[in-house]
């Protein structure tokens, strides 16, 4: 298949390379030409604009930072839609607001282009190991067409529902992981400040109802004091902003997410943004120790 790929960052680069390895021809465009360097010796053609990418591709995957970027790549000047190509499928794997995904998808549909929102969970490691969890929203037919691509990038791909449903699922994922990481950090700091070994607490809890993957994996990394990302705190902060804006729009009370988002604000504000989310533990330690 001729697959366009735009957004060749930490996540996008390994994802695109998996597709190439599976025998697809890549069509690339990048804002910064240096992002194209890793694709010099593979079956990939570079183009001058997103519109050119669209002309050569059956499916275009986008993996960019936020909604304005998705909008610019899809609908901006020389964007994918300006190619006028009917029947194109755009798969946006970025994390953006559900509302934005619906808005962008509706505009593309009016131009004869299918749009699937397909954000991922699993971080850079998941992208490198082709082990991402992919949650999609859109038409079943479009989903089936691109499913073989998903299978090369992830270990599971689920069609959650209509347009925007993938982003809703991702927002739910970020609520659970954000609140979950903070809960583990609080429990460990509570144990340590009570003079109890958090490692022992973790070990005991893993066998009970408080078991979770976060307690197991993130908890272990907290004990190892390995704060290398993983998933950077500033990105989690951005995702929680999306969650809270959506809650605002819907008139939804999300008390735990709101409190958690404030801790992520504090992490970014105190210079921990480039750390993994588990650096929430560092922040709590700092806040519970006299300066």
């Amino acid at each position: 298949m001729n697959v366009g790929f735009i957004g060749l960052g930490l996540m996008g680069r390994p994802m695109a390379l998996h597709l190439e390895k599976a025998g697809h021809t890549l069509h690339l465009w990048a804002r910064r030409p240096e992002s194209l360097a890793p694709f010099k010796d593979v079956n990939a053609k570079t183009h001058a604009t997103p519109a050119e990418v669209a002309k050569h591709a059956d499916v275009v995957v986008t993996m960019v930072a936020d909604a304005p970027d998705v909008e610019a790549v899809c609908l901006g000047e020389n964007g994918l839609a300006s190619s006028g190509k009917k029947g194109l499928i755009i798969v946006d794997m970025s994390t953006i607001a559900p509302d934005a995904a619906r808005r962008i998808g509706d505009r593309l549909e009016a131009l004869g282009i299918d749009f699937v929102d397909a954000p991922v969970s699993g971080g850079e490691v998941g992208a490198i190991n082709a082990a991402l969890t992919i949650m999609a929203g859109g038409k079943a037919e479009a989903f089936e067409t691109v499913k073989p691509l998903f299978e090369k990038m992830g270990k599971s791909a689920t069609l959650i529902g209509d347009r925007g449903a993938g982003q809703v699922a991702k927002a739910c994922n970020q609520i659970l992981t954000g609140v979950g990481v903070l809960a583990v950090a609080e429990a460990f700091n509570f144990a340590a400040k009570s003079g109890v070994d958090p490692a022992k607490v973790r070990e005991a809890l893993l066998g009970g109802f408080a078991y979770s993957k976060i307690l197991e994996n993130h908890g272990q990394r907290m004990l190892d004091r390995n704060f290398k990302p993983g998933f950077k705190a500033w990105m989690h902060q951005k995702d929680l902003r999306i969650v809270m804006e959506e809650a605002h729009r819907l008139g939804l009370m999300l008390p735990s997410s709101a409190a958690t988002a404030q801790v992520f604000n504090a992490m970014v504000g105190s210079g921990l943004g480039e750390n993994d989310s588990i650096a929430a533990l560092k922040l709590l330690e700092k806040m519970s120790t006299p300066e």
Binding site: G251, M253, N265, M267, V268
Partner: protein, 285 residues
């Protein structure tokens, strides 16, 4: 002075009338012409476009709802202003939007002043608003006669956007105080104690505040008709919480208050007074 005015809601209407009564000549525009009828009847000139307003006025005042509205208006006004013109925006918008608009005007030699107000509809009617403005301090003299018609406290907070930062702080402190009053009322009511009496006792003590007086009063008498429509506070919270994200600042109490406002909106009470935060605490009672 030739003054342009755009935005005739609860706040804008009385503000425009004060300017007119002080002897200024008003030039107005509104999307629905009917909103300016009350001024046209008093001899005010109605313009066809915002650009035309800026062409005939030295200073244009706007009082609309969101950042996008102000940005759209500013783009049109910019084509009409002569160098030296001033756009005073009384709306509550994002500080970053105010800074962006100011920068766009600067290239044309036009000044933008963000001048959000506190005091509500009553403050606007009585010309007792608190005005907090951001922009060049050199503009103070030119702005003074206008501000004097509208408010009793005028503070130049700092550069462009500083007025909006002050307004964000104002909303944060005020709505948190309304929530605190609501929680006190809920606790008193649940304990079978008359909140009116509790409020009376508190007012003269250390917990006394304007919010306890005004909003606490509405809670004591179960008067939830707006005063200040809660949806406007809800809107302001989205702005200030987004500002906190951008700055990496934790606002734990504000974030909790925001969630109570979300719950209020879910009950469709957005057009009632923010004292309705008490009713949120009574859900499922």
């Amino acid at each position: 002075m030739e003054i342009g005015f755009i935005g005739f809601g609860t706040m804008g209407r009385p503000m425009a009338e004060h300017l007119l009564r002080a002897g200024h000549r008003l030039h107005v525009w509104s999307r629905r012409a009917a909103s300016t009828d009350f001024l046209v009847e008093q001899g005010v000139v109605r313009c066809d476009t915002p650009t035309e307003v800026a062409r005939v006025a030295d200073i244009v005042c706007t009082n609309v709802t969101g950042s996008a509205d102000v940005e759209a208006l500013a783009a049109e006004l910019a084509d009409g202003f002569a160098p030296g013109g001033i756009h005073i925006d009384f709306s509550t918008i994002a500080p970053s939007a105010a800074r962006r608009i100011a920068a766009a005007y600067a290239a044309r030699g036009v000044d933008f002043v963000d001048a959000p107000v506190s005091g509500g509809g009553v403050g606007a009617q009585n010309a007792t608003l608190a005005i907090m403005w951001g922009g060049k301090s050199a503009l103070t003299t030119r702005l003074a006669p206008i501000f004097a018609c509208l408010g009793k406290t005028v503070v130049h907070v700092g550069e462009s956007g500083a007025g909006q930062v002050a307004k964000a702080c104002n909303q944060m402190v005020m709505v948190a105080a309304i929530e605190a009053a609501a929680e006190a009322a809920r606790l008193a009511n649940a304990a079978g104690v008359d909140f009116a009496k509790v409020r009376e006792a508190m007012l003269s003590g250390s917990a006394g505040s304007k919010v306890l007086e005004v909003f606490g009063g509405r809670m004591a008498t179960c008067d939830f008709a707006a005063g200040v429509e809660a949806r406007l506070h809800h809107k302001d919270f989205a702005l200030l919480m987004n500002e906190a994200v951008g700055l990496g600042v934790p606002l734990p109490v504000s974030s909790a208050v925001w969630q109570q406002l979300n719950a209020l909106m879910a009950q469709d009470w957005g057009r009632q007074d923010t004292a309705s935060l008490l009713r949120v605490l009574e859900i499922g009672r």
